[in-house]
């Protein structure tokens, strides 16, 4: 029997009303949390003196088209105190938005911009939500599963507007 991850225990104590869906695969802990609570949970994990998830290692999106809810936003946190890693997930339906965690970790600034750029998931209260890798005016979100890998217009000549 695997020991309960300290973060799971702490989270359950701090948010008794929440139902946390905890999965463990290859010793990696993944907690799926409600979309609306993500900012509060992140703030808690970052500030708690026993956990100290001070490091937002990664933030990315997943597209489960054609399932519903379609997207997941994945947060990978690292504790500098214990070197534990913790993965948080929030399910997002198309057209819904997620609270930005930029106020907790500045690292989220560019990472959230990238998720917005490639998946089209908007982040609320993000200070500078623009496309980052693709240019303004690009149509579509390439990492969505319904976006063809060769591009939507690969057989049409590219004529830039002058």
């Amino acid at each position: 029997m695997v020991d309960i991850h300290p973060a799971v225990k702490k989270l359950q104590e701090a948010f008794p009303a929440l139902t946390l869906d905890v999965k463990i695969f290859r010793e990696e802990v993944t907690i799926t949390v409600p979309r609306k609570e993500i900012l509060e949970i992140c703030r808690f994990l970052h500030a708690d003196p026993d956990l100290q998830y001070q490091f937002l290692t990664d933030l990315c999106g997943l597209d489960f088209f054609p399932e519903h809810p379609r997207f997941e936003v994945v947060y990978l946190l690292t504790s500098l105190k214990t070197n534990h890693r913790l993965r948080l997930k929030a399910k997002v339906e198309e057209g819904e938005s997620v609270s930005s965690v930029e106020s907790v970790w500045k690292a989220a600034n560019w990472l959230e911009r990238e998720v917005y750029d490639l998946f089209g998931i908007p982040f609320e209260k993000h200070p500078d939500l623009r496309r980052i890798l693709l240019w303004d005016g690009f149509e579509g979100y390439p990492l969505r599963k319904d976006f063809p890998v060769e591009g939507p217009d690969f057989d049409k000549p590219f004529v830039p507007e002058v």
């Binding site: 695969f25 290859r26 990696e28 993944t30 001070q54 490091f55 937002l56 290692t57 990664d58 990315c60 997943l62 994945v74 990978l76 500098l80 070197n83 890693r85 993965r87 970790w105 500045k106 690292a107 600034n109 560019w110 990472l111 490639l118 496309r131 980052i132 890798l133 693709l134 240019w135 390439p142 990492l143 976006f147 890998v149």
Partner: protein, 390 residues
């Protein structure tokens, strides 16, 4: 009349000191930077999207082309993630070879950084010395793997082939000669007055800020945070090697410079340790569903031929699940987050690029400094746009 106090200038993407195709929009008050906005994406090739339509083996060459100065480290991060997903054990000899190659690659990557960083600031001589030593390393890679810049040496389950005859002596002679070379570099820079004036107290990022901005690698350690993936979450047998993590104190350009120099010395020492202890045995795991059979077997044995055909054309099907594995690349924590849906293609390959997050902290470092400092600060965070833009 409207007051136009600030001037906006554009730096890059063809500027030689932006190390690739980085574009910065600088808002200036005289010569002081008020606001810096990086624009990236000029080198975006959609590697993450592309990987979703490949088999697991076919993704390895794509990883070489992320941070093209650190191909071995990129290979390593990816294969570690796939091996974790599959749950396969890598033979000891292969692990040791991986460490040896990754550390040689770290030296090569840091040599490029040192040469170009010094060149940006005006110390032109160093580049030639650095590329001389880097050439030795690339020649070693060429003999070992067949490729220089993009060796694609690592395989899922081990490495592509064992060391050729005579290469161990060449690696040893490099390792023995390198400390004296390091002294040459240091005489040119470490106490050079111009160098000190251009790097001391420039581009300071505090410990708290560096952590909050997700900065990793030598840039983080320059700010005095003793955190290295090789020690924090050891992989590929790093826990058995004897090395230290050099750190800086205030997090200026000079601290990041000294951290990388000390890191090269430790990498050299790790290569030496790996050479001394290199265990005997196979270099590939014996998992017939994942690992390609040896070429001799394919030519003699029909079962091996069928296996070769199946693995090369269809690949293999790992269990459903998601894993994250990361390595300390030359730039910082390079991670691969792989989600498998049980098919022969990865459902999602997410690359956690260290340079991307290190660059995102650049405005924090340059604001309030002079334009000339931007050059030395960009050099000191050691970005590679191939990895940032993916």
């Amino acid at each position: 009349m409207a007051e136009t106090r600030f001037m906006t200038i554009n730096m890059g993407p063809q500027h030689p000191a932006t190390h690739g195709v980085l574009r910065l929009v600088l808002e200036l008050d005289g010569e002081v930077i008020v606001k810096a906005t990086p624009h990236i994406g000029h080198l975006h090739r959609g590697v993450e999207k592309l990987a979703e339509s490949k088999t697991y083996h076919q993704v390895i060459p794509l990883t070489d082309r992320l941070d093209y100065t650190n191909a071995m480290g990129n290979n390593l991060a990816y294969v570690l993630a796939v091996e974790k997903l599959l749950g396969i054990e890598v033979p000891k000899r292969a692990q040791c070879l991986r460490v040896m190659m990754a550390e040689l690659q770290r030296i090569a990557a840091h040599l490029i950084w040192l040469g170009t960083h010094a060149l940006d600031i005006g110390a032109m001589t160093l580049l030639f010395y650095n590329f001389r030593e880097r050439e030795d390393i690339l020649r070693i890679f060429e003999e070992v793997a067949g490729g220089r810049l993009t060796p694609t040496y690592l395989r899922i389950g081990g490495v592509s082939k064992d060391l050729p005859d005579g290469i161990a002596e060449k690696i040893r002679s490099f390792v023995d000669a390198f400390p004296a070379r390091m002294k040459e570099y240091e005489t040119l820079l470490t106490k050079n007055v111009i160098w000190l004036q251009r790097t001391k107290d420039v581009g300071i990022i505090s410990r708290e800020d560096a952590i909050n901005w997700g900065v990793t690698g030598p840039t983080l350690r320059g700010s005095g945070v003793k955190w290295d993936v090789r020690k924090a979450v050891p992989y590929s047998g790093y826990e058995t090697f004897d090395f230290d993590i050099p750190t800086g104190s205030i997090g200026d350009v000079y601290d990041r410079y000294t951290v990388r120099l000390r890191e090269m010395e430790w990498s050299n020492s790790i290569v030496k340790q790996a050479l001394d202890r290199l265990p005997k045995g196979p270099v590939l795991a014996s998992d017939p569903h994942v690992v390609l059979p040896a070429k001799e077997d394919v030519q003699k044995d029909i079962a091996a031929l069928i296996r070769q055909f199946k693995i090369a054309s269809e690949g293999f099907r790992p269990p459903r699940g998601e894993v994250y594995a990361s390595v300390e690349s030359a730039k910082g924590e390079l991670g691969f987050y792989i989600v498998s849906d049980g098919s022969n293609h990865p459902f999602r390959v997410r690359i956690r690029p260290p340079s991307f997050l290190n660059l995102s902290a650049l405005p924090k470092m340059v604001e309030g400094r002079l334009i000339a400092d931007v050059i030395s600060i960009i050099g000191s965070i050691d970005i590679v746009l191939g990895e940032i833009d993916r």
